[in-house]
């Protein structure tokens, strides 16, 4: 690709500048914590056990999420049915829920008094226990299966419809399609999906502790929390933050080495038609995959809905004020996230320092929000009142956390568009702006909408850095919900959780639909 001229020169520099900015925004706070510490500190045996457990549960969670997502993504990509779009949007909801809401939703289904155990008891079988490593993995799959499905489905949808027509003409069986088209596509998409989910799970704290059943399930994130809150040991907190960076870098370099570049070529953006996979068994298999995944993801959400619905009308006004702040915050976060992701994605798609850039992009979900938040607090505190910086800082940190997902969604789409149309655009002498507008944007609109929606929804549900900065007057909706829970007001908290769920979904839906205007799929 080195011979290709560089009509996107300005974007190139923008991408490099953004990457540098992201690196500073993540490592800067870590450095600030280290600076304030009296020394680097040392890791005890408990910390090493926490590191081992963190990596192990994250590996399992990512493996199960990705493996289970493949049949679901394939089924959703090749079937058309009424309500499909709504189902896809709804199934994305677990990813954006605040942890405690999701956990209580899961407990309503899988817990001691949950639906599943009630059903098992009704047919005379022994109940199941949710607490343990399997509970942690179950919850992480619940959170991340939707993300994995979406990322993998994007891969399927990126295979041009013409390829499937050609395959049909050549008399390909389903098995041939798997071998020649689907497997290479999966090798392109899966490593990245696995990596982001693995990294998300490495910073898990509340889920791992609550469903893990006790100190056996201590994660690095909890050790960081303890170092900050109870031991005031900034050195140890920073060291554990560095461990998270190391995990991210090693995982990033290992995983991305496995990934293949895209090689599907381009098409005419026709609606997808699958000439294979029309057999009864395949249809039944696909419907089974969709039904099981929908039940797994939607039943806990249904529980959240049913508990909250009665209380919504009586919610205190402070909850609605917090909701308004959260919506504004989410929109700003989505804008910042897109502004950061687009230049970086363009640069990565050109094949420059790909591994390095993707790893930088992934750092923001691998490093503890508590470390980043505390570092930013130390940096900003002498200059700005925390109450005033609460929302901007939350927006920035959330945009950074959304970055890896936007990159995952954008990079393959840009690569495909560049590979298919780059030369044509160049031979036509298109300027960078023309090329962006006519060649790239129409082809990346879908992942862009998806990524922006994800960023907005994630910011809506986030309960990380905001807790360090917020004053009573600047709390977000999840924070307000948590305050309600902490004051025995369970009914109000459940209603606030429902409002949160609905708002997050609505924001995600609007962006995601916006990205698919005029698209038949």
């Amino acid at each position: 690709m080195a011979h290709r001229a560089q009509p996107l020169g300005a974007a190139h520099w923008a991408g490099a500048a953004v990457a540098a900015l992201v690196l500073v925004a993540i490592l800067g706070p870590l450095g600030a914590v280290l600076w304030r510490a009296d020394g680097v500190g040392a890791l005890g045996p408990a910390d090493l056990a926490a590191i081992r457990f963190t990596i192990w549960q994250a590996l399992l969670s990512a493996l199960f999420s990705v493996a289970l997502a493949i049949p679901v993504a394939r089924a959703l990509a090749r079937r058309r049915f009424r309500g499909r779009a709504a189902l896809i949007a709804l199934m994305g909801a677990p990813f954006i829920l605040p942890v405690i809401v999701a956990v209580l939703g899961l407990v309503a289904i899988f817990g001691r008094q949950g639906l599943l155990n009630a059903g098992l008891a009704a047919i005379g079988m022994h109940g199941i226990e949710i607490y343990g490593l399997h509970g942690v993995v179950l919850a992480h799959v619940f959170f991340n299966l939707p993300l994995a499905v979406r990322l993998i489905m994007q891969g399927w949808l990126a295979i041009p419809a013409e390829r499937f027509r050609l395959a049909a003409t050549l008399g390909f069986t389903s098995r041939d399609i798997v071998r020649h088209m689907e497997r290479p596509m999966l090798r392109q998409v899966l490593p990245g999906a696995f990596l982001v989910i693995f990294l998300i799970c490495t910073t898990s704290f509340a889920v791992a502790l609550i469903l893990g059943g006790g100190p056996r399930s201590t994660t690095v994130e909890l050790a960081i929390y303890q170092a900050f809150r109870y031991d005031f040991d900034l050195g140890r907190a920073a060291l554990l933050g560095l461990v998270q960076v190391a995990i991210c870098v090693v995982a990033g370099l290992l995983v991305l080495r496995v990934a293949l570049p895209g090689g599907m070529g381009s098409g005419l953006d026709r609606p997808l038609q699958r000439f294979d996979a029309q057999g009864g068994w395949q249809r039944a298999g696909d419907m089974l995959a969709i039904t099981l995944a929908a039940a797994f993801l939607l039943l806990p959400l249904g529980a959240v809905f049913l508990r909250g619905i009665n209380g919504v009308a009586g919610l205190p006004v402070s909850v609605w004020q917090a909701a308004e702040r959260s919506v504004i915050l989410s929109l700003a976060t989505a804008a910042i996230a897109v502004a950061l992701a687009l230049p970086m994605a363009l640069l990565i798609a050109r094949g420059r320092a790909k591994g390095l850039l993707e790893t930088i992009g992934a750092l923001s979900i691998a490093v503890s929000p508590l470390v980043i938040g505390t570092g930013l607090f130390l940096i900003l505190r002498p200059h700005v009142a925390p109450g005033n910086s609460a929302l901007p800082v939350t927006g920035l940190v959330n945009a950074l956390s959304a970055l890896p997902f936007l990159l995952r969604a954008l990079v393959p789409a840009i690569e495909a568009a560049e590979a298919g149309y780059g030369r044509l655009a160049q031979s036509l002498g298109m300027s960078a702006a023309q090329r962006m507008r006519h060649v790239l944007l129409p082809r990346i609109r879908r992942p862009l909408g998806f990524g922006a929606g994800l960023a907005a929804a994630m910011a809506m549900g986030d309960l990380g850095v905001i807790t360090l900065f917020a004053t009573p007057q600047s709390g977000t909706l999840p924070l307000e919900m948590f305050r309600l829970m902490g004051s025995y007001r369970t009914d109000d908290a459940e209603a606030a959780a429902l409002v949160l769920l609905v708002l997050s979904l609505a924001l995600f839906w609007i962006f995601d639909r916006g990205g698919r205007v005029n698209a038949a799929t």
Partner: protein, 328 residues
């Protein structure tokens, strides 16, 4: 307020209007300052007498509050910190940021005596295992609980103040045998949560028979929800106390005002707000002045409380015993 923008504008106008007044900044935990906590009532009552602007800044829970003070050091804007408990006092004192309060603690009405020169209590409670009134034969001691097959949810002492309180409870009651008690309890513990809210939520959802909370928790259900189906188990070895305290930050520019606030803290205007907003016992209110419903609560015969410095010294050892016993 219709929108944050208008709210900000109004706040700006309000702050200009009161620019002449002095401002007293009080750092506290979140649930104190929320609309349904004591904060708003206390603010109105104090501003009515102080000719000042009282501003609460909420920072998570008690431990987060202390962590914030630690990060800010002498740069802090806080004049008063309110909401630490006795297990955090020693660390707070070690930071060297707390001035003597200079107030005579004679007015305090608590089951224990109090003479800490830096910190003054405003409320207190007993840790206890809360359970449904339909529970047959509730346990009467930790050993009893360990021998039963009851399911309990507790909080993690590494991330939550009640969790740390339970750790100190077992340590204060059993000393060197604490590790053995935890081993006995291990199979009763369904799970350990990061904070009080998650544990209490799991209990209300029926995931456990009992949850670590306070003897005053049933009062919330009784008074606010008219629900008498929750109660607390009385333990023979006594109940560990959580005493919530406030202290004056020594770099304050408003020492006189801060002292006035500390004294105000023990007056009925402040104290009467506590029972039905913080759901704890006020530290300086005669029992007769407590709201109806508080008289139905379990009152432990033996209050337990380790002195602040001793609690700090025992913490690491107790934590290690806990972790080892529950990691098996």
């Amino acid at each position: 307020m219709k929108s944050p923008i208008i709210a900000t504008g109004l706040a700006l106008v309000a702050s200009m209007a009161t620019a002449q007044d002095s401002v007293l900044t009080v750092y506290t935990y979140d649930s104190f300052t929320s609309d349904w906590g004591p904060g708003p009532v206390v603010e109105d009552a104090f501003e009515a007498i102080c000719d000042c602007d009282l501003q609460f800044i909420g920072a998570g829970d008690g431990a987060a509050l202390l962590s914030r003070l630690f990060l800010e050091g002498e740069r802090t804007e806080a004049d008063v910190v309110l909401g630490l408990d006795t297990n955090l006092i020693a660390q707070a004192r070690d930071m060297g940021l707390i001035a003597s309060h200079g107030i005579d603690p004679q007015g305090l009405i608590m089951p224990i005596s109090w003479d800490d020169p830096h910190f003054l209590p405003y409320d207190w409670g007993y840790f206890a295992f809360v359970h449904g009134t339909d529970l047959e034969n509730p346990p009467t001691s930790f050993r009893d609980l360990a021998a039963s097959d009851l399911r309990i949810v507790i909080q993690d002492p590494r991330s939550s103040t009640p969790g740390l309180g339970l750790l100190m409870w077992v340590k204060a009651a059993y000393g060197d045998e604490a590790g053995a008690i935890w081993e006995g309890l291990a199979d009763n513990i369904v799970t350990v949560t990061p904070g009080w809210s998650e544990a209490y939520g799991l209990y209300l959802d029926g995931e456990a028979d009992m949850v670590l909370s306070y003897t005053t928790s049933p009062a919330y259900h009784l008074i606010a929800e008219d629900d008498d189906s929750h109660t607390a188990a009385a333990f023979e070895e006594g109940h560990y106390m959580q005493v919530e305290v406030a202290g004056i930050v020594n770099v304050t520019n408003e020492m006189a005002l801060a002292r006035q606030f500390m004294a105000f803290m023990l007056t009925p205007a402040f104290q009467q707000a506590i029972p039905t907003t913080n759901w704890m016992y006020p530290a300086a209110l005669p029992a007769g002045d407590l709201p109806d419903g508080f008289n139905t609560l379990v009152t432990p015969e033996t209050p337990l409380l380790l002195p602040a410095e001793e609690a700090q010294a025992l913490r690491d050892e107790a934590l290690e015993e806990w972790r080892t016993a529950l990691s098996r």
